[in-house]
């Protein structure tokens, strides 16, 4: 469980995070979405203890703030910027990060083998990380976050710039972690990933949470109407409606064979984001 209450952080005159609060339950995947500069990374950095908040509180697994070693022991971080030693091989990297977390001996070996297997790098474990592809490095980055089997996992853009195979592997891992009761914060620019993975989503902009809830809830509240496009030969007729099926039925009934095609664009997180912030997520 991760509980953040009224978190605030400023850098000079810039207010980076302005009163952010949320609680993530065990086994929940929580999506933190927002454009660059929205305050996501600052929030995450405060949650993992890298940044000290100006005010507000963070509690991890009921232990306390991340300034406590016991609380930090329960956190696993996969930063967006790869945090690996290119000079070391895959196994050496994971072993080192495991030792940092206090693992040793048989337990360390067991955990290293388990996470390397889980991210599909067991057969490349003896290769230096410098020789890994971007997708393999992302998976190794994730393995480093999970080696000590943390209760709270913070994944910052874990699929950024990876190949489809690695993306699939990472998404499967996140789903498996959630099933095992891990608390997960997931930031991404990929709406389809957020919709597929996240139980709840918070949309941040300018340091504030603009909206928070399940994907369906947010889409229903902020996504607006579906867009129906009816094609008649070269001509297209676009209608916004909350009843797209009814619109299509009426169009076909009235126009008969004159309708050459129809398309329904249902509201999604991208539209929610657009309606809340006035811009697209990747702007």
């Amino acid at each position: 469980m991760l509980k953040i209450t009224n978190l605030k952080k400023s850098f000079g005159s810039l207010i980076a995070v302005d009163g952010v609060s949320f609680t993530i339950a065990k086994g929940e995947v929580f999506g933190l979405l927002g454009p660059n500069g929205a305050g996501k990374s600052t929030t995450i950095n405060m949650a993992i203890g890298v940044l000290a908040p100006d005010s507000g509180s963070i509690e991890i697994e009921g232990v306390g703030p991340p300034t406590l070693a016991d609380a930090r022991r329960k956190i696993g971080v996969a930063p967006q910027a790869l945090a690996l030693y290119d000079e070391l091989n895959g196994r050496e990297n994971i072993e080192f990060f495991g030792r940092l977390q206090g693992l040793s001996g048989a337990r360390l070996k067991e955990r290293v083998n388990a996470v390397l297997e889980a991210v599909g790098l067991a057969d490349r474990a003896k290769d230096r990380a410098a020789g890994y592809s971007g997708g393999m490095k992302r998976r190794l980055n994730l393995a480093a976050a999970l080696v000590h089997d943390p209760e709270v996992v913070l994944l910052d853009e874990p699929t950024a710039g990876v190949d489809p195979q690695s993306r699939h592997n990472i998404i499967e891992m996140v789903q498996a972690l959630a099933k095992r009761g891990k608390t997960i914060i997931y930031t991404t620019h990929y709406m389809e990933e957020a919709q597929k993975l996240c139980d709840r989503v918070a949309i941040m902009d300018k340091g504030k949470i603009l909206a928070m809830g399940t994907v369906d809830d947010l889409v229903a509240r902020f996504g607006g109407e579906s867009v129906v496009t009816i094609c008649r030969g070269e001509a297209e007729e676009v209608q916004r409606t909350s009843d797209p099926v009814g619109v299509i039925q009426r169009a076909v009934t009235l126009a008969g064979p004159g309708v050459s095609g129809v398309r329904i664009d249902r509201p999604d997180l991208e539209m929610v984001f657009l309606s809340l912030t006035g811009r697209k997520l990747r702007d």
């Binding site: 993992i48 070693a69 971080v77 945090a83 977390q101």
Partner: protein
């Protein structure tokens, strides 16, 4: 190409530390040392020497008085050779200058081939200063001889003595005796002429237009390196035995500087790699993180020193005391590790760390006598040099290798090195920033 160059320049200016050490530091450095040497006229400091007058004659007394009055020397009169060499061994004096018995006799016998003997026992690790000392001794001894030609009564005395000495090796009426006596007659003439010249000089001096009196002097300065060993106590070994005894401690200090340069960028490298975030989110303290880095640096520092000492021994050096040397290299490693960790903690980027790691040790080496002999520095800089781990590392390692410093004598250099290391490390932990 232009775009890459512009981007690099932009990044350099945005890294304040790197920009400072690239642009501002050389300027400050140049201005600072210009200031340091400006007032000193290129060498206002004094070379510390011990003086021993074994001759105890008016001539030797005049030389000793001149040595004491010389602006380039800071003299301490000692009663025995042992007392003088002790000052050199403890690095409190660069050399022991001995005016040996026979100095006056040599001076008086100048016209019959006599030489003025002078001895100096010098610190072998300060040969540059010893070279300058030789010049200084020659200058002052020549000054003694010049007084012969400006003091007519001394010249007459010398000529009378010389006439007596001729009889000891050339019988009266012999060709050699005649030759010398003719020379002395000439010298008598010269003496009379000099008397006239002296009067003229005095008249000129009164009118403010004095000219220096000419002179010559066959001075013989014998320079010997300090032998710190006690042949009886150490099985006949004398220290230093080889040039490596005092050249390798210098090498060790420079090797330690290399370690500082290497490790000062270690945290900045972690930041660049992104791995710093894993260190900071691990359940370990800042002290443990910096301590881990310090341990690695300490091991490297020790390895470098052991390697250099091993090579020195292989090249024929003897070590005075292995336990003392061990204490010295551990202390030196602690001092330099602390310095490296402080630099690592305050450096924001690898470029900044690189700049600091090169500049700071270089300055410490300079003020510690690693590049410029300490004696040429003005007194306040010699005082400042006491903060340089470079100076104390060399002294401590020399103490174990050949100076034969006692445990009590090792307390000062080792205490300073260890204290410096601990203080720097503590400041580093305090200054360590994740953000």
């Amino acid at each position: 190409m232009l775009a890459i160059a512009m981007n690099d320049l932009r990044m350099l200016f945005r890294d304040k530390t790197a920009a400072f050490f690239t642009f501002a530091f050389p300027l400050i450095f140049a201005i600072f040392f210009s200031f340091v040497f400006k007032g000193a006229g290129g060498g206002g400091g004094k070379m510390a020497v011990a003086l021993l007058d074994e001759d105890q004659t008016p001539a030797s007394g005049r030389l000793v008085a001149d040595l004491q009055a010389d602006n380039a020397l800071k003299s301490t009169i000692v009663a025995t050779r042992q007392a003088g060499t002790e000052l050199v061994r403890k690095s409190k004096a660069t050399a022991l200058i001995i005016v040996p018995k026979g100095f006056a006799e040599g001076a008086d016998g100048m016209f019959t081939g006599g030489k003025m003997p002078l001895e100096a026992v010098v610190d072998p690790s300060r040969t540059a200063e010893a070279g300058l000392l030789t010049g200084k001794l020659n200058e002052l001894a020549f000054r003694q001889m010049s007084t012969v030609f400006t003091d007519n009564s001394r010249m007459k005395d010398m000529l009378a003595k010389a006439r007596g000495q001729v009889r000891t090796f050339a019988p009266d009426g012999s060709a050699r005796s005649d030759a010398f006596l003719k020379f002395f007659e000439g010298a008598d003439g010269l003496s009379a002429q000099l008397e006239e010249i002296q009067k003229e000089d005095q008249a000129k001096e009164a009118s403010g237009d004095a000219a220096p009196a000419p002179g010559f002097n066959p001075v013989e300065v014998k320079i010997t390196p300090l032998e710190a060993g006690d042949p009886n106590a150490e099985g006949g070994k004398k220290f230093p035995r080889k040039s490596t005894d005092f050249s390798f401690p210098q090498g060790i200090a420079w090797g330690l500087m290399g370690c500082v340069i290497g490790f000062a960028a270690s945290l900045a490298s972690e930041r660049r790699r992104g791995t710093l975030i894993r260190l900071t989110t691990a359940p370990i303290s800042r002290t443990q993180i910096l301590g881990g880095k310090a341990l690695a640096c300490f091991i490297v520092c020790l390895t470098v020193q052991v390697l250099l000492i091993g090579v020195a021994v292989a090249m024929g050096s003897n070590v005075w005391s292995w336990p003392t040397l061990l204490v010295a290299i551990v202390s030196a490693a602690i001092g330099f590790v602390g310095m490296a960790m402080l630099l690592a903690a305050v450096a924001g980027s690898e470029e900044g760390a690189g700049g600091m790691a090169r500049a700071v040790p270089m300055v410490l080496a300079m003020i510690g006598g690693g590049t410029i002999p300490l004696f040429v520095m003005p007194p306040f800089m010699q005082t400042i040099s006491n903060v340089s781990p470079f100076k104390w590392a060399i002294y401590a390692v020399e103490g174990g290798m050949w100076r034969g410093l006692s445990p009590m004598e090792m307390l000062l250099p080792c205490g300073i090195l260890i204290g410096l290391g601990i203080v720097c490390f503590a400041i580093g932990v305090k200054r360590l920033k994740w953000e």
